[in-house]
Amino acid sequence: MHRFANPARFLRLASAILPWSSALSALLIAAGLYFALFHSPADYQQGETVRIMYVHVPSAWLAMACYSTMALSSAVALIWKHPLADLVAKAASPIGAAFTFLCLVSGSLWGRPMWGTWWAWDARLTSMLILFFLYLGHMALINAFDDPSRGAKAAAILALAGFVNIPIIKFSVDWWNTLHQPASVSKFGMPSIDPAMLLPLLLMALGFTCFFVTVLLIRVRTEIIASKLRAIRMTQIHAVPVAVPVAE
């Protein structure tokens, strides 16, 4: 009967994880920044602009990872009706939207010096823009219904349907010849990138991930309290003594 899973366990778990994840993310991001800004070489082609990579690529990865989290928890919510799953999806989408935005803007800032244009209707860029709109739509849809459980279900369906976009983002550089860089770090086998660049990249990516976990836990906790608030108000409105079972 996980339909009514007790959130107490989740909250205990969250309280246990939170201090670690927040400390770890601060540490990793600090270290990543140090290496990114002071201890990595400029690229022989791209010069100093390559430093944008340490923001751009981790945020791109996180944007996609966050959407995948959302899609996964939406599937769990639809199939097993686990109430926490809905809350996770709801908590995740603003985070994902923020990082997608960061990826878009940093990519654009990188594109200007590299390609000579802020924007091009290239497959990867377009699909990333669509991801951003999907996040916005998800957030809007969740809040568009008077009954929050309906909003959650509609948004879950949207999240799942929109998941097709993720492989398109990932593989668009392989399927179409585009302006954008093909995978060099995330390739299977040996990454074709200078280890001095790889280190800060990985540090930043891990730091962002820990940050994501931290904020996600905070937001899920907020959502749990909010749903509890709603339940209390609802029982006040309907004047039904929620908890007094009627003797038959």
Binding site: M1, R3, F4, A5, N6, P7, A8, L11, P83, D146, D147, P148, S149, R221, I224, I225, S227, K228, R230, A231, I232, M234, T235, H238, V240, P241, V242, A243, V244, P245, V246, E248
Partner: protein, 230 residues
């Protein structure tokens, strides 16, 4: 129609219904055998319509399960849909289609067995034959309701779920509906019906919905106390 089998049994166990995050009823049980009838009673807002929608398969129970011959209904939704007729508050009458077209469409969609003959018979039975070519928008409230009820006869199905079916019907039509329900039950069908009015449904079991107030344990998630949570 194997579903009209004399040993058919439609039952629910431990059903709970959440609407708008509010528990409307919980741990509700019922069982109905072929030929049986169940009368849902209760004041406004007690959850009669919600229960009927749940039995039809439009709402998923928050807890508990529905069974047909002890097979969970959830296993084969389409078979369940073929078994039930649901008549709700809305009449689903398209204003621009004629009475005949409206009925024929629903009958054909519900069962391929339904043909023109059955449709004509149903119209006849509900005294709509002379209106067959009239567009839906010209019907009075009671005529629309009768058209909606005519689906019951135009495409046979063993379980009738009727949400306040006598609303807007004149007395002659109510009498006819009562006779139809009796015949349906004699053939092994079942009727589950909510109403605030008098209706003649001999031998029907009664389910009083106001007795079920939201029970506690399941609400732990939504309404539990602070400390358990944080």
């Amino acid at each position: 129609m194997s579903d009209f089998a004399p040993n058919a049994r439609f039952s629910g166990h431990g059903l709970a219904c959440l609407r708008g995050e509010r528990m409307v009823f919980a741990s509700l049980d019922f069982a109905l055998d072929a030929g049986g009838a169940l009368l849902l009673l209760g004041p406004n807002g007690s959850g009669k319509s919600s229960l009927l929608r749940l039995l039809a398969g439009l709402l998923k129970p928050a807890a508990g399960r529905l069974a047909w011959n002890d097979q969970p209904v959830a296993d084969d939704r389409e078979a369940h849909s073929a078994r039930v007729h649901y008549v709700g508050h809305h009449d689903a009458v398209k204003p621009v289609l004629t009475v005949w077209e409206n009925l024929r469409f629903w009958a054909g969609l519900h069962s391929p067995a339904a043909g023109d003959a059955l449709t004509a018979g149903a119209l006849e039975r509900f005294d709509l034959k002379r209106l067959a070519e009239v567009p839906g928008k010209l019907l009075s409230a009671g005529q629309k309701r009768r058209l909606n009820l005519a689906r019951l006869l135009a495409a046979p199905a063993p379980v009738w779920l009727l949400d306040e079916p006598t609303v807007a019907l004149d007395r002659a039509s109510v009498k006819r509906l009562e006779a139809d329900m009796a015949r349906h039950r004699a053939e092994g069908g079942m009727v589950i019906l909510s109403t605030h009015a008098e209706i003649d449904l001999p031998g029907a079991a009664e389910l009083h919905l106001n007795r079920f107030t939201p029970a506690a344990p399941d609400m732990a998630l939504l309404a539990g106390d602070g400390e358990d949570w944080l």
